[in-house]
């Protein structure tokens, strides 16, 4: 595995449902090491990493500020009760299709510090009625099986409020291992791109006309946007969000509904449900990609909820753009991406910082 894939693997396997991002923060701190000028954590748990600017265009007394953000949190589950028979009732954290849950493994991290494996129980096909087969079981009617036989035994292992995430291996597959499969690619791919950019700026320093604040943010998946809080902390002049873009490049899907395609390069978004992105920043990214020979595609859809709007409309407004890595089956245990698309997003991020002109 290349170093980039090793980094993505480590981030993908880290435990971090919204609000419980401690493990991810620890991994990121370790991976950055001494490559940044400062690393701080704000009151809601965003990790803010500063790389100072320098050079002729850098105003040392009142530096301009650039915010680069990716979210650390992933979708997950919270235990809400144990039944008399020892099964756990749970609530989803973030939006998931109930059809991707049945039969999956989950790892619960308890407040006692233990890890409890759980299976999402499902009725075997032999036992399903015709009606059962015709419709998806809603999450409310699902439960975790942790091998407990009574309510008491269940409560010995877990408490109400304990959280879990998909227990899913990370692997590469396809020709030359070009594809990646794992949980939480949304948005650990973004986190990896930020970390690699920080290392790159450290290993071969360049004149940056601004201080760059790399923000690893929390609580994106439940819509309360740690990134919005980080924007008020950083007070950036401009912002670039690095995300995973859910794509639909599947058989039988007509062109206009595919959103973007794996293998097409990183994705530039003009509009989503939260924001109409800044045209001059987006145009700068396009030109940079063309100059540097980085593959990119323009997102076809206008849906999707991201942190973009929260950052853009913080304070008196922040010019914001959105760069993302296309991902299939996002918010499931087996999200799929292409490493080359990740590389193009990372390379464009680094090239944009190194050649800033907007």
């Amino acid at each position: 595995m290349t170093k980039g894939i090793e980094l993505i693997k480590r981030l993908s396997l880290a435990f971090g449902p919204s609000g419980w991002e401690d493990d991810v923060r620890a991994v990121i701190r370790e991976e950055i090491g001494k490559a940044a000028d400062s690393i701080t954590e704000d009151r809601v748990g965003n990790l803010i990493v500063r790389v100072k600017g320098r050079g002729l265009d850098y105003n040392a007394s009142k530096p301009a500020r650039m915010m680069i953000a990716a979210h650390m949190d992933e979708v997950g589950f919270m235990v809400k009760d144990v039944t008399d028979e020892g099964y756990l009732k749970f609530s989803p954290i973030g939006g998931m299709d109930p059809r991707v849950l049945c039969g999956r493994h989950v790892m619960i991290h308890t407040d006692k510090g233990t890890e409890v494996p759980a299976m999402i129980a499902t009725k075997a096909i032999h036992l399903q009625s015709a009606e059962d087969r015709a419709k998806a079981t809603p999450t409310k009617k699902m439960y975790f099986d942790i091998g407990a036989r009574t309510k008491e035994e269940g409560f010995k292992a877990v408490s109400v409020g304990d959280c879990g995430v998909f227990d899913s291996d990370f692997m590469t597959f396809g020709k030359d291992g070009a594809f990646l499969k794992g949980k939480a690619l949304d948005d650990r791919l973004g986190c990896a791109a930020l970390i690699e950019a920080i290392r790159d700026l450290h290993d071969s320093p360049c004149d940056l006309p601004f201080d760059v604040y790399f923000c690893f943010t929390c609580n994106e998946e439940i819509g309360i946007s740690g990134a919005g809080v980080a924007a008020f902390t950083v007070e950036p002049d401009m912002a670039l969000l690095v995300e995973a873009c859910a794509v639909n490049d599947l058989p039988g899907v007509p062109g206009a509904s595919r959103v973007a395609s794996l293998g097409g390069g990183c994705v530039l978004t003009l509009v989503d449900s939260t924001a109409l992105y800044d045209q001059s920043l987006t145009a700068f990214l396009r030109h940079t990609a063309e100059d540097q020979g980085v593959r990119y595609q323009i997102k076809q859809g206008t849906g999707d909820v991201t942190d973009g709007g929260f950052i853009q409309r913080s304070m008196a407004g922040v010019k914001t753009a959105l760069l993302s890595v296309p991902v299939r089956y996002t918010h499931s245990a087996a999200s799929v991406a292409r490493y080359a698309d990740y590389e193009s997003a990372r390379d464009l991020l680094i090239a944009a910082l190194r050649n800033w002109k907007a």
Binding site: S257, V271, A275, L276, I298, Q300, G301, Q312, A316, G317
Partner: protein, 333 residues
């Protein structure tokens, strides 16, 4: 006001792409104000300084949005037809079989797929036909991310009534210009911030950041409002020609009642025709301003309009003039 409206509806200004209208308004407003600038989201902010000494002047924010609803290109089909997504609340049934214009001047018509029942017409069931013979020819004119809108138009009807599009909210912009012209030689004592906001149609975005940047003491928003006077309209007392509509409530906020009552009293004292308005559905920039910072006392003066967000909206210029007159009377109280 009629001539200004003709100019304003002639330029496309879809949410997020408001520069053309912003430039026109900047040219009009610059000679009337002390300072004009665009903020990070593109809102045009024009400041007219007051006459009171420093430290005794309030900041008054008057806001109207300069964006309009439209479409963004998501894909060009192999046969040259263009697929789009809506920007803002589009009534696809009303927009069907109508001419559209793209940013670069390319013309087209918005067509529902044949056989689609009128109630089933939505974004995925329509396409734009620009007359291209295939994808290659179409892509010479239009690419993904380009935006277009129904053509702007304006006709005069009985009395001072006009119809066309987009009256929402170019009429609010025209009211602000009218107020600025009236204050040109006789400024009021407070600082007046004329804000032409962006991205209202996608969720009152520009007004929110503009208000944060200004942190006004008081704010008034100017926008169109629905009426109860069309055939089949909902139960609403507001009517076209009934005067400036002082908003009490819409889906996005409850206005400050003292402020609304104060405006009504000033209208009465100055013989300006007014009515109260409770909008049944829809929000305005008023709410974005109200919830900025630690909260701002706000009112809204609406221009009663029939057939909002269709291809042809109708209003009475006399109502818009009443909004401007009432504002000037309030500023000079």
């Amino acid at each position: 006001m009629l001539n200004l409206m003709k100019t304003l509806v002639s330029v496309r200004s879809i949410s997020g792409f408001e520069k053309a209208v912003s430039d026109k308004l900047m040219m009009t407003m610059a000679p009337l104000c002390d300072k004009v600038y665009n903020d990070a989201l593109g809102s045009l902010i024009c400041v007219k300084n007051g006459t009171a000494p420093d430290g005794e002047r309030k900041k008054i924010m008057l806001v109207a949005h300069m964006d309009e609803i439209g479409f963004m290109v998501t894909m060009v089909e192999d046969n040259g037809f263009i697929r789009v997504q809506p920007i803002g609340g589009i009534n696809f049934t009303a927009a069907a079989y109508t001419a559209v214009t793209f940013g670069n001047g390319t013309r087209g018509i918005l067509i529902p797929e044949l056989g689609t029942a009128p109630n089933d017409i939505n974004a995925s069931k329509v396409y734009i036909d620009i007359g291209a013979k295939d994808k290659k020819e179409a892509e010479k004119k239009v690419k993904i991310g380009d935006q277009c809108a129904l053509d702007g138009q304006l006709i005069r009807l009985c009395g001072k009534k006009i119809a066309g599009r987009p009256l929402d909210d170019r009429i609010g912009c025209a009211v602000l210009v009218d107020i600025a012209e009236k204050l040109k030689d006789t400024p009021c004592k407070d600082d007046v911030y004329f804000v032409f906001s962006t991205q209202e149609e996608v969720g009152m975005r520009g007004a929110r950041t503009a208000a944060f940047g200004i942190m006004p003491d008081l704010g008034i928003a100017y926008d169109v409002t629905g009426t109860g006077d069309a055939l089949g309209a909902g139960p609403m007392v507001c009517s076209v020609g009934g005067g400036a509509a002082i908003k009490l409530k819409d889906s996005s906020l409850i206005c400050d009642r003292d402020f609304a009552d104060e405006l009504a009293q000033i209208a009465k004292a100055n013989d300006i025709k007014y009515q109260f308005e409770i909008l049944l559905a829809g929000g305005t920039d008023t709410a974005a301003m109200q919830m900025t910072g630690a909260g701002i006392k706000v009112a809204a003066l609406s221009i009663p309009t029939r057939y909002i967000h269709s291809g042809t909206e109708l209003l009475d210029l006399a109502d818009a003039e009443a909004c401007a007159d009432l504002t000037v009377a309030w500023l000079n109280k």
